[in-house]
Symmetry: C2
Subunit: 109 residues, 2 copies
DNA sequence: GCCGATGTTCGATGGTTGACGAACATCGAA
DNA sequence: TTCGATGTTCGTCAACCATCGAACATCGGC
């Protein structure tokens, strides 16, 4: 169940957040979501197979970085910016600022 | 050669920093060094064998988080706080602020 | 010059992770 | 109702990582 594994804000773990963002592909997805917009998975142009993308999105979701919403067969995702900021002030901002230089190329289709 | 693998400030990689700090033990070491003091390996009270500690210190060093200085057979280590701050503004501070809650218990002997 | 203390390196081991394709489930549209 | 689009799950594989003990190198003190 996808909606079931969103951790509560107070349960978001620093080490999980760090390892989630330590992967170039997930960092790239986070970068792309940094504008606050909600995106559909299929709109993400990523250099991996869809099963691998699904796996990475699950990792981001379980780390508490993103929130996934299902609508029919489609999945929409957005960054939990505000919640992250309240849990780890300044963290996401400082990471995303430096991220584009070494994140995987993730674009919009 | 230990002193050889300190990356230059401009070569410090975000993903390497993140994965280095994603490990509870290394996060604990970073926490302990957060006061800016230089410490000797042997003074660190860590729950792992010395070979494992050596491995983790190498990881921190190669990620650019710490600077190691050798003096005889002893090794001293300190956080590269200022350099990190110039490379990734705000990053280290926000991590270290949240770290104590889930870092491995690293004390002074 | 010998011995103990301090780290490093090596090899082995077990666990985790990222990747893929294939098979599956579900929903919407024709 | 059948088919295509969208994600998930499963099994597998290779790579990586944390850990340990043992062997080694080096330096300082006795």
């Amino acid at each position: 169940m996808r909606s079931a594994d969103h951790p509560d804000v107070s349960d978001i773990s620093l080490t999980r957040v760090l390892s989630a963002l330590a992967d170039p592909l997930r960092l790239g997805v986070a970068c792309l979501l940094a504008d606050g917009e909600e995106r559909q998975w299929g709109d993400l142009d990523v250099p991996v197979s869809k099963s691998t993308l699904s796996h990475h999105m699950k990792t981001l979701r379980q780390a508490g970085l993103t929130r996934t919403r299902e609508e029919g067969t489609r999945c929409y995702v957005r960054l939990r910016t505000v919640e992250l900021e309240s849990r780890f002030p300044g963290l996401l901002a400082s990471i995303l600022q430096a991220a584009p230089a070494e994140a995987a190329p993730v674009g919009l289709r």
